[in-house]
Symmetry: C3
Subunit: 300 residues, 3 copies
């Protein structure tokens, strides 16, 4: 059952647990005063902050949507608009993605986008998730994830969509495509990206068990490339980026990733249909409601 599984999932997030919560786009959907407050803040301030250094050609994209940088439709839309702007800006050659929040990079897809929504809205949301991955995995810029906190599910997808991953050397931070633990099957392009990163067998184990890896374990299987002390994640990313930008160009990247990207491009509608028909099932919706009520009672 989704109910106890999500519970497991929370427990496994350890450091993030105390802050983990669900927020929605509209005040009236909020499940507790706490969320409501956050929503008001979010509605007036951007969820993402981008600083482009014209002297180096490197942009830093900071995710700043408390409490856990959930990937809501609004968040994803803002993310994609920013990515597209940078992509078209010839002066920008490198992108570093990081978080302004303490202890969390991104907790992944916003569960509120999947609960009580119309099929149309669910489809719109999923299309935005696809768009985020397509833009990131296929970016012409050199991309580095500066993972300064936990990064489960969609946060992990965002990380492995980059060219290089630097994570805070803190065993309390975890990363992984743990959708299976949530009763959700990772779609084929999540799977393909993970296989490309850690190989077939590690991906199989990881996806079948919905594993979250501590930072040191993530390094061992190659899910991240490097661990550094927490306060050096961003500066190391900057140093590493200068090495990437010293390389003439990145046609090679497109050669490595084209097949994986083309597979989603030619199956995009079917993938949306699959997601919508799964997530709008009564059984799945019931589980989500139980989960939300549990969260509410914990807050009370």
């Amino acid at each position: 059952m989704l109910f106890y599984i999500v519970l497991l999932y929370c427990c496994s997030l350890a450091g993030v647990l105390s802050q983990l919560s669900i927020h929605s786009r509209h005040g009236r959907e909020c499940v507790s005063p706490c969320f409501s407050l956050q929503q008001r803040n979010n509605s007036t301030s951007p969820k993402i902050k981008v600083d482009l250094d014209n002297s180096t050609g490197v942009a830093v994209l900071r995710m700043q949507s408390p409490p856990v940088n959930s990937l809501s439709l609004d968040f994803l839309t803002e993310f994609c608009i920013n990515l597209e702007k940078l992509e078209m800006d010839k002066s920008c050659r490198g992108l570093i993605i990081t978080s302004t929040l303490s202890k969390v990079f991104s907790a992944g897809l916003d569960i509120m986008e999947m609960y009580g929504k119309s099929p149309e809205r669910c489809g719109e949301f999923w299309k935005a998730v696809q768009e985020m991955w397509l833009k990131l995995y296929g970016s012409n810029m050199a991309t580095i994830a500066a993972i300064n906190g936990s990064s489960p599910a969609g946060g992990c997808l965002m990380s492995i969509g980059c060219d290089y991953r630097i994570m805070a050397d803190n065993p309390r931070y975890s990363i992984g495509l743990n959708e299976t633990q949530l009763g959700i099957v990772a779609p084929f392009w999540f799977k393909d990206t993970l296989v490309n990163t850690v190989g077939n067998r590690a991906a199989e184990l990881s996806l079948e068990l919905g594993l979250l890896y501590s930072a040191p374990d993530a390094l061992k299987i190659g899910l991240v490339d490097q661990l550094v002390p927490e306060d050096q994640v961003l500066s190391t990313a900057q140093d590493t980026m200068s090495k990437w930008l010293a390389v003439p160009d990145h046609i090679t990247k497109s050669m490595m990733r084209k097949q994986t990207i083309d597979k989603l491009l030619s199956n995009r509608e079917a993938d949306i249909t699959n997601f919508v028909s799964f997530i709008t099932k009564d059984s799945i919706q019931r589980s989500l409601r139980m989960y939300l009520e549990m969260l509410k009672s914990r807050k009370a």
Copy 2:
């Protein structure tokens, strides 16, 4: 020449060597009194014993066909019938495969099924080998191989057909797709399963040299997932299984393996034809006869 190669193969099996022998289905085909005796036993008793624990939903399948759990047509048929029963039993969600024999998990395909048999019979045998793999690799149950002894060739195929492999921590036990050492080319789906497990390069080396790996070496290349003391293989498998069964479902497994399984399904007849035309060659049959005569003289 197959002759000296099979000799090499025996030598490499070390611990199993003293027991290694060939048995047949019918008394009249027996090549020594010793085999005959074993055959009488086998004809009246099942080669496989299955215990399903309804409280946990976990079945333990014990291979108990002395001397070495050879995969004969009878054995494979019994194996597949048992697997199918468990697959259809909704109360069974996990399967552990192990051996009741000392020092051996399974020595692989029964050579007597390939010697002096009609093409029809050889084809029937090969179809049963395919069926075993298709049922195991594509099982909806969580499957764990509790490898409590050596597991060459077909025994290795059975192991890598499972979701997880726990092996006795004994350097005298070995595992590997060593068909090449026997003058036999591993078919493409053996190769695909191995590549999925240990990656392309390790599979290439392994298959081209027909390598058998000691338990510690098998762990190093990822051919098995875990080593434990010999007397804890089964109990560790039980503990591990409970973790697998805590995960909601296994659609992910089908997504990971579908392509590999479909490749055999759409080439099944051609694969049988290939095997039959190879194994019925005069040169191969001559080598097999020399091998059998050598075994007879060793016994005398």
Copy 3:
């Protein structure tokens, strides 16, 4: 810009640097007296020496084209003729490739073949590069690279085209497909061969950054299989070869590599067209001229 990048490349070759130079097929194209001298020598002596030991069935192919065993059209043609002869010689079952030069196995493709040449000539050259790889990667012989010096770019391609790689245990020697550093994109079959050897992620990092690995680092990622003291590279290759030849046959090898080879075979003309249109671009030719002038001034 290619200019400064090639400079980087030279620096990374360290030990080879002092000797690195460009040579051409015709005296009139020589860019310095030094090259001219080498050319005269080369025109009268073979660039490759082959010794076949009929008692073992093992041929040793020695590359002896100073200063750095550059893969010129002449060199490649000689290489392919020798390979074809050995392939057709039933008494030859194993091939060891090594270098007679100090500190370098092969520095890769000869840059002079790409500068100031007609499209037809460039196409002829590229076809020879393809031919070398097709013959080596698809060889029916067991092939071992005895890498007794640095082996960048095309030298690395030649190495990973073999079945097994033994490298001198010297951290000053490096190996890798560093074409990206030279402003050149490795073609898809370079990429495929590397992925087959070190896996997708290591290949991606390696190609996107144009990395050269020191011998110890190359061992770590599986780019070479074994390191031995410099004076034991060839003898270890001989010992290893005897193990490979003890295995009955190598149909397995063809099964492992067929798909990768077929991909080039069915795209051969397009691959040549791509290369020619890229290398004959004005911008690329300008960069090559700047590089050659820099080399000239260094020599002066």
